[in-house]
Amino acid sequence: MQLDEDQVLIKKTLRGDRKAFEELMRKYEKKIFSFVVRMVRNEETAVDLTQDFFFKIFTVLDKYNYEYKFSTWAYRICYNLVIDHIRKNQTQVDSLDDEGVTSHDLLASDNVSREDGFKALARAETRDYVWNIVDQIPLKFRELILLRYIQDLKYEEIAEITALPVGTVKNRIFKAKEILKKEMEKDGMLV
């Protein structure tokens, strides 16, 4: 069987090569941390959870099945860890409910002058703006957007990780995009 880069690192780790595991962590830390921090919306908690995730990965690495992609397997463990944490500490309040509240509530505290028109904003700012709204949509939509765009996963992989039917994943991502577009329009972002 042809092993990919991750699987070679896993083999080395299981043979006792610590550097190999460190390399594996370095490869994934940014994506995992970005996902976790946007899920829990607290940096310290995100650091703890990301560390717990790598610790867990190490302890169950011998159970990894080489027929599957390491990333999908790891993301599922990460997703479950984060969801467990959120369920145990259910204090998350989403600024936007399913229907989408007014953008005035959403960004009222921001010192952004919306009336000047977001049209003029540079592309990087558009991106930051969009991701700022992503942070505020309900978890059931947010988690899928994060898996799709931060972890760069296909609908089928997301379905596998979240244990949701592919159809549901697809519908929720579509719905999430509708919410995001609506918010952008409300803010005069899209004219």
């Binding site: 962590m25 610790f55 991106r127 957007i145 931060i150 577009k181």
Partner: protein, 184 residues
């Protein structure tokens, strides 16, 4: 012709429409400014989503995990310390038990160092006197304990020492793992 649904426009942006459906959407967009605008909005959104700015994890993240996984330095030094202590302890007991202070090797060593001075002679004399002292204590204890226990004191002492030291060694090796297991 009916306007395009949001779902169709999103799917079009994602490139997940079939060839025929995509052609139908293209035709409609040519004729309908409203749908064209909505499509443009979704395109802008898609572009923003496709380039997420990843959060930078703190530099301590990976090193701390490594430290938690492999508390290596502490473990190696504590094992070495226990091994060294075991060695000194066992050698002492064997020395005392077999009464090496009166053996020919020690006698010879003593003879060679008697005439000489310097740190080597000092060390040997020091060790011998410590062992001689221990030997005297053992003999006194032995005489006392022989009245209470029938087994030879030396054998019992070495057995207890080996048992105790293996227990200590086992604890040093397994304690980090127990700690690790408790944390998870």
């Amino acid at each position: 012709m009916a306007c395009l649904s949001d779902e169709t426009l999103i799917a079009c942006n994602e490139g997940s429409l079939g060839a025929i459906e995509a052609a139908r959407v293209r035709d409609h967009l040519l004729l309908c400014p409203a749908c064209r605008e909505t499509a443009a909005h979704y395109r802008l959104l898609e572009r923003a989503l496709e380039r997420p700015q990843l959060a930078m994890p703190p530099a301590r993240l990976v090193p701390q995990v490594m430290e938690r996984l492999f508390p290596a330095a502490a473990r190696i030094t504590s094992i070495a310390a226990v091994a060294a202590a075991s060695f000194v302890f066992l050698v002492s007991w064997i020395y005392i038990y077999f009464d090496f202070s009166s053996s020919s090797l020690v006698q010879a060593l003593r003879l060679t160092t008697d005439g000489t001075t310097g740190w080597l002679a000092g060390i040997i004399q020091g060790i011998t006197s410590v062992y001689n002292g221990a030997q005297a204590v053992r003999k006194a204890l032995g005489a006392m304990l022989r009245i209470l226990f029938p087994a030879p004191l030396g054998v019992v002492a070495i057995a207890v020492a080996i048992l105790g030291l293996s227990l200590l060694l086992a604890l040093t090796v397994f304690r980090p793992r127990l700690k690790k297991a408790k944390r998870t």
